[in-house]
């Protein structure tokens, strides 16, 4: 007789790790899950134990391969759909050396064009969001309609060859999903639904369309974009650079799920890391979680180890009255960090009340530089006014704080990048807690060399 397979979300033996306690985390199981977001543990892929060559992080040749076979081939995150509700609203965003315009049409649909004038190549718009009745190039005033058609070409009669083919900007694939807009530099890109699978079920229950901009920041970092991706795809570094988070989350009892090209991990929040002794008083950061849920930590009579579950129950009970509809989420989603990586460059910490996401963009020409976009959205309770959109800010690493935790993440990256170039460093020595990093590189390989196509000697 078949016996049900027990849900074993954590694959390593936590008792043998550098921990003070073995913690049995109460979790939603596939049987008790009430959300469309699955909780099933995906079987770990067999990816071996090889060193991941460091040169992938600084070689200009590898950067070129990434450009040709990834950035110009896949679907990419462009921005927030609610930034461009009206005809003529547009998002101008850059990826590597390219820049695109994503434009709301009169019929409500979206179109995407390369942000480059067909005359002598000028950029039509600087990066950012805006509204335009038409896109007039600043140089010689060639003017394009919202649909990309050339509406005016001054002195057309002086171009004996006529205007450029079709008198229109080329169109690029674009779509809207889950309150975000996505585009591709690849005219023949696969359907978005195929690309994003299986994450529609995972992420739609969070209803990001009910959340409003809270933060919009771009930081120039001196590291390869993949060093940033890696930094958010493992919890192993919590004990290293985020010691304070050990009194906020459980960095040890983490479920990792790798899918075809995307992956995720699930981190219990409002919990105490098994790496530290159970404290007698409630850690201030967990008090914050409680207050945010509407609880008074001073009233709390339970044990610190019970707080995570009690916050879940409290939110379940009182969410509705607070104008927060949690009905599409399971109990764990009310506290925990479900952390997704959408290949190749989006990391999302999704929570019941907010989303903190990062878009990690390569530099146009230098593999040692990148752009780190921090986007935070917060649930707007029903009946409350929609807040004004925050302004985008851009600066260089170290010029301003981006908050304690992200500062800690950022601090190391330039020295990681520098160290990787050392001739005595062959590459990344990856452990089980870093499986998502290995999976990420496997997906990179699939794109660059074709599935199974990587040869001896390939980077």
């Amino acid at each position: 007789m078949d016996r049900p397979v027990t849900h074993k979300p954590v694959t390593w033996d936590t008792s043998k790790m550098d921990v003070k306690r073995v913690v049995d985390v109460i979790r939603v199981t596939p049987e008790t899950n009430t959300s469309r977001t699955p909780v099933d543990k995906a079987p770990d892929p067999e990816l071996g134990h090889d060193v991941i060559p460091a040169a992938r992080y600084y070689s200009p040749e590898f950067m070129m391969l990434e450009w040709e076979r990834i950035w110009t081939k896949v679907w990419l995150l462009g921005g927030r759909a609610d930034d461009i509700p009206e005809p003529g609203d547009y998002i101008c965003t850059e990826i590597g050396k390219e820049s695109v315009l994503i434009v709301r049409q009169h019929d409500g649909s979206l179109r995407c064009f390369p942000n480059v004038c067909l005359h002598r190549g000028n950029r039509l718009r600087p990066e950012g969001i805006g509204n335009a009745q038409a896109f007039r190039c600043m140089y010689h005033h060639w003017t394009y309609g919202l649909d990309g058609k050339i509406e005016r070409l001054p002195d057309l009669c002086t171009f004996p060859q006529g205007g450029p083919p079709g008198m229109t900007l080329p169109s690029l694939p674009v779509t809207e999903w889950n309150s975000f807009v996505w585009f591709s530099l690849n005219p023949d890109v696969e359907p978005f639904d195929d690309y994003i699978a299986p994450l529609k079920d995972h992420l739609e229950p969070y209803h990001p369309e009910r959340m409003a901009w809270k933060r919009d920041v771009t930081v120039e970092w001196d590291c390869n974009w993949k060093a940033s991706v890696d930094a958010f795809n493992e919890t192993y570094h919590v004990q290293g650079i985020h010691p304070q988070l050990q009194w906020y989350l459980d960095d040890v009892n983490v479920q990792i799920d790798c899918y075809e090209r995307h992956n995720r991990y699930l981190i219990p929040f409002a919990a105490i890391s098994p790496r530290v002794a159970m404290p007698s008083t409630i850690p201030p950061a967990i008090e914050e979680i409680m207050r945010h849920a509407g609880m008074d930590p001073a009233e709390y009579e339970g044990r610190v180890s019970d707080i995570r579950r009690d916050v879940q129950l409290f939110k379940r009970k009182h969410g509705k009255a607070q104008g927060k509809d949690y009905s599409a989420l399971n109990d764990d989603q009310l506290t925990d960090d479900y952390h997704y990586m959408i290949f190749p460059n989006v990391a999302l910490n999704v929570h019941a009340d907010d989303i903190m996401m990062f878009r990690q963009r390569p530099h146009a020409s230098d593999p040692n530089k990148m752009l780190y976009d921090v986007w935070v959205f917060e649930l707007v309770p029903e009946g409350q006014p929609w807040p004004e959109r925050v302004k985008h800010r851009r600066f260089k690493h170290g010029e301003r704080s981006i908050g304690q935790v992200l500062d800690q993440d950022a601090y190391n990256l330039p020295t990681v990048q520098a160290g990787m170039k050392s001739e005595s460093f062959p590459g990344l020595w990856i452990g089980e807690q870093e499986l998502r990093i290995r999976h990420f590189h496997k997906v990179l390989d699939d794109y660059i060399y074709g599935p199974g196509g990587k040869q001896e000697g390939d980077l």
């Binding site: 010691p243 050990q246 009194w247 404290p279 007698s280 008083t281 950061a285 001073a298 009233e299 044990r303």
Partner: protein
């Protein structure tokens, strides 16, 4: 120096970790029978098991001092299990906190009424036995500003006043009462352990204010408490001993 604790019967309320556990351990090592409590069932069980190694009679049961009836029953149970009581060290604490009126209730119930209910339970027994020793545990935060104006600091201060007056009232029955005020004490799972991990800068600033360049350890306070609790301190009563490695700035005239 003989502390004269052999065969004595001691109750330590809040004795499952930190200073309280260190007090219970020294008492047991010195030959006393000990009863301990705390809220945590596992921590009490573990502490009782660990204290057993000294071969005295050690008992413990979880109890929340905020639940007056349960707590009174626990105290009766402890006195019965020990067949009397000579030493009481009640050091349950709700810790600090600001921003909610509830913190005042918590500090009152745990830091003040915890000791008060215990003292009321043991005084008749000690009076009958013609002697006993009580040590209350306040804090240097009652003496010098720490962490903002909060219930914890003010409620702990009340123990210093009350302790002295208890000593005056019960001296005639051979009962001594003293107060110990520890400065910052660090141990695994304690408050300062968490502060070190979560508020690194604040922790370092405290460290810089420590004349000996470190925080205290539970046993360093416990030894002072046990001394005052013991026969060796027979002429100490109504005193208030600051055990802080010279951390406080004021002169204790």
């Amino acid at each position: 120096m003989d502390l004269g604790l052999q065969g004595k019967k001691a109750i330590v309320v809040g004795g499952a970790r930190g200073i309280g556990y260190a007090v219970a351990e020294i008492l047991a090592r010195e030959g006393a029978d000990v009863a301990i409590s705390a809220r945590g069932e596992d921590s009490v069980k573990d502490a009782v098991a660990a204290l057993g190694r000294y071969g005295t009679h050690v008992v413990g049961k979880p109890c929340n001092v905020k639940k007056a009836d349960d707590y009174k029953a626990w105290l009766e149970w402890a006195i019965e299990a020990l067949e009397g009581v000579d030493v009481l060290v009640p050091l349950s604490s709700a810790g600090g906190g600001m921003g909610s009126e509830k913190y005042w209730h918590n500090a009152f119930e745990t830091d003040v009424m915890g000791p008060v209910r215990a003292v009321e339970a043991v005084i008749p027994v000690m009076t009958q036995r013609k002697g006993g020793s009580i040590v209350l545990v306040a804090t240097t935060s009652a003496l010098e500003a720490m962490g903002g104006p909060q219930a914890y600091n003010a409620m702990k201060a009340s123990l210093i006043t009350w302790g002295k007056q208890l000593a005056l009232a019960h001296g005639k029955d051979g009962i001594r009462v003293n107060v110990v005020s520890p400065g910052p004490i660090e141990f695994e799972g304690g408050n300062w352990d968490m502060i070190k991990g979560t508020m690194e800068k604040f922790y370092q600033s405290q460290l810089r204010q420590q004349p000996m360049g470190r925080l205290g350890r539970p046993e360093e306070v416990a030894k002072a408490i046990v001394f005052l609790a013991s026969e060796a301190a027979s002429w100490c009563s109504g005193s208030h001993l600051v055990v802080d490695g010279a951390y406080t700035n004021r002169t204790h005239f």
